[in-house]
Symmetry: C2
Subunit: 433 residues, 2 copies
């Protein structure tokens, strides 16, 4: 059973705090193991990666077969059905269109002092995308990571996808091909992250690594952060649905379950201003859990972390939603635009009852790599910005230096940085002399 | 003596690689100690912070004196000279103007399918800025961290600045006041980062932590990353000057020294197309090192990490510059705009001989918190973007769902996520029925 809360209850605040601070993930402390794997890959390169792949993925590789060959990719991709291909192409097109609009502008101006200032954006030269193997090997995640990188202008794009026992998902390879990926390595875990960050004889290092992964991958990303850029340390997925009683309880139940079926640690929360509607949704969830393919996973998630919260009105719903800072927020209410405008912290908002979150997972256009575990308070979903960096520009004229140089001299003096001050003084002397 | 390289030498590539990979920082492994400090602050709150401050800063505090009182701030600020105040105000105004232009736009549009898509930016609610104590307690860094936060719209802004033995820099407090900081805690080290991230009885937690610090602060930031946002893990500062022979060697020498005087691990590199000019700059540096106040630090940095590279032409200089990906890049050449346009990787570019890097440290306008240690390959200097996050928006009409829903159903099927597909199917059924 999920937890039922009501804001009119005197125990509400305590119960809500418990819900907010629930630790949903058993993150085993793999940091020491990961440190060793990274050191091994840095020291022994290909040999270490090959050994670790044999050990963890039961797959024997050589330096020549770390990456899929063009022929292997073509052969796999040929197996993908036309319906799958067309769906993937539609998704790729829509994701591309959305992300193209994110490209930021360069800017340059000259101010009153005569200083020309501005900035210019440029793309990361090479990016590596991690794609989990096995159960969570999602072609849609390849599109969501690779397309923003290509739109940003990344020149070289590599994927690391483990293929335990040599089993590969052809749709993942097609998604890589559709998004313009250059190289696909069949490696995974911390060894893949280390190889992408530091390079080996056969693997050229990249500058930025994105993509989800297990505890080993997350720990490795945290460790290589600084040597390369990373996107975020992702946790289990979550959804918050705010729904009034003018909804089909079955639709809302399916939306909650579409998050719960991802992972036993996923969290689905419903906030409604109608307690009876909340009960109807709970019943619909239970009914659906009898037949759902992934009922074991979805059931565990719903039982352990699901919640239905009844509020006095929708304003209260928004207040709670901002405290939760959900990854996904569905607004199934009469005026979703108004409620959306009051939302400060959320990774992605889905407005109205015809926008189930699953649309955003695949074909809406916005990215489905979003901040989890309340990190929407301070971070954003993946975007072209993750593959761009900004160089600031300044150019002083002699007049500009005369106007603002003395303040720099003074501040340098106050910070006891003599050479800083002198570098300005020497120039002003010539100009004023 | 710095290292002298020449691209015409057959040993150049090896020597340049050595320069690129030189480990300039002795980062002691303080991770275990930091983990313990963070756990202690989480468990015991104020008591732990107070004990650690007594131990490391020789300063006895109580819960009531963790933060400066308004009276204490007013008293300290009154001591600041008018020249210092005016210089700081000019800097603050210019930094504010520059960062105001960085505010990104929200966007919303409706596409051919009838889907309304877009995004909205919002500010982080609360930010904490770390300001080092002692030698590196720079008022200019307060402005560079706090002003972008305020411009972004951050509601609550706290500073942590350790005051060893109770000694405080009044100009730092004035800088905090000028930039709209709400609370100034006199605490530092990993305990300050832990308190800002997790909160204590007297310290309200923040959502984002920025600012430079020593090895303990850096390790603590890496550890709390995910619980809160952080800006970057900063390393020692560096400058690359590209100068032709039409420059005053003394000016260039001062520019190189203004980086070297920061830190023994700082790095100053000159690239020139005229070997004789390079020698003249080297001589000017040596001469200046005889009298410079911080000659011990600057001398060590220049001797251990300084380099003068002679190139065939300026195109070659740009190629090397892009491989270095410098934090600061000064272009003292006849056509700095042309050379700037070819620069892909750099934190900040200073164009022309009247733009010494020190201008950018204080009053230019752009941020002086910039990516070090070659991380300009994948990251940017501090900006308003560090204090904003983006929420993506999507709203389907029935027609839009009819148009793109089937592709989502198909992809969900291909990923074996039944509830994802059903959440679309249920709606399409009603629409098509």
């Amino acid at each position: 059973m999920p937890v039922f809360l009501n804001t009119t209850s005197p125990e509400f605040e305590t119960a809500f705090q418990t819900l907010l601070s629930a630790k949903r993930e058993d993150s085993p402390d793999v940091d020491a193991v990961v440190a060793q794997i990274i050191a091994d890959v840095r020291a022994r390169g290909d040999a270490a990666v090959i050994e670790l792949t044999a050990k963890f993925d039961r797959l024997e590789l050589t330096s020549d077969t770390l990456a899929f060959s063009a022929a292997e990719i073509a052969e796999a991709v040929a197996k993908v059905s036309d319906v799958d291909r067309h769906a993937l192409e539609l998704a790729a097109d829509r994701i591309r269109s959305y992300h193209e609009k994110q490209m930021p502008d360069d800017l340059q101006w000259t101010d009153e002092a005569g200083a020309t200032l501005g900035w210019r954006w440029s793309a990361v030269s090479a990016a590596g995308l991690y794609v989990p193997g096995g159960l969570a090997s999602y072609p849609s995640s390849v599109l969501m990571n690779a397309i923003p990188a290509k739109v940003a202008g990344v020149e070289r794009l590599a994927i690391a996808v483990p293929t335990p026992d040599g089993v590969v998902n052809p749709v993942v390879l097609l998604a890589a091909q559709l998004s313009g990926v250059d190289t696909i390595y069949r490696i995974g875990g911390a060894q893949a992250i280390a190889a992408l960050a530091y390079g080996t004889e056969s693997i050229t290092p990249v500058d930025k690594i994105t993509g989800p992964g297990n505890a080993f991958v997350a720990a490795a990303k945290r460790r290589v952060f600084g040597k390369v850029g990373i996107d975020m340390i992702a946790g289990p997925s979550e959804i918050l649905v705010i729904a009034d009683s003018d909804n089909d309880p079955n639709w809302i139940a399916l939306d909650l379950l579409s998050q719960a079926e991802h992972d036993e640690s996923a969290q689905s929360i419903l906030i409604t201003d109608d307690a009876a509607f909340g009960q109807a949704v709970a019943q619909a969830v239970e009914k659906r859990l009898k037949t759902l393919q992934r009922r074991a996973i979805a059931g565990a998630s719903w039982r352990d972390f699901g919640a239905i919260i009844t509020v006095r009105d929708l304003d209260e719903a928004t207040t709670l939603s901002n405290r939760i800072a959900p990854e996904h927020l569905e607004l199934c209410v009469a005026d979703p635009v108004a409620l959306s405008a009051k939302t400060i912290h959320a990774g992605a908002i889905f407005l109205g009852q015809y926008t189930p979150e699953a649309i955003g997972d695949y074909v809406g256009g916005p990215n489905h790599v979003l901040p989890t575990a309340r990190s929407a308070r301070f971070s954003s979903g993946l975007s072209v910005m993750d593959f761009l960096k900004r160089t600031t520009l300044s150019q002083m004229t002699p007049e500009a230096l005369r106007a603002i140089g003395p303040a720099a001299e003074q501040l340098a003096r106050s910070e006891s940085l003599e050479a800083h001050g002198l570098s300005v003084t020497a120039r002003l002397k010539r100009l004023n002399g």
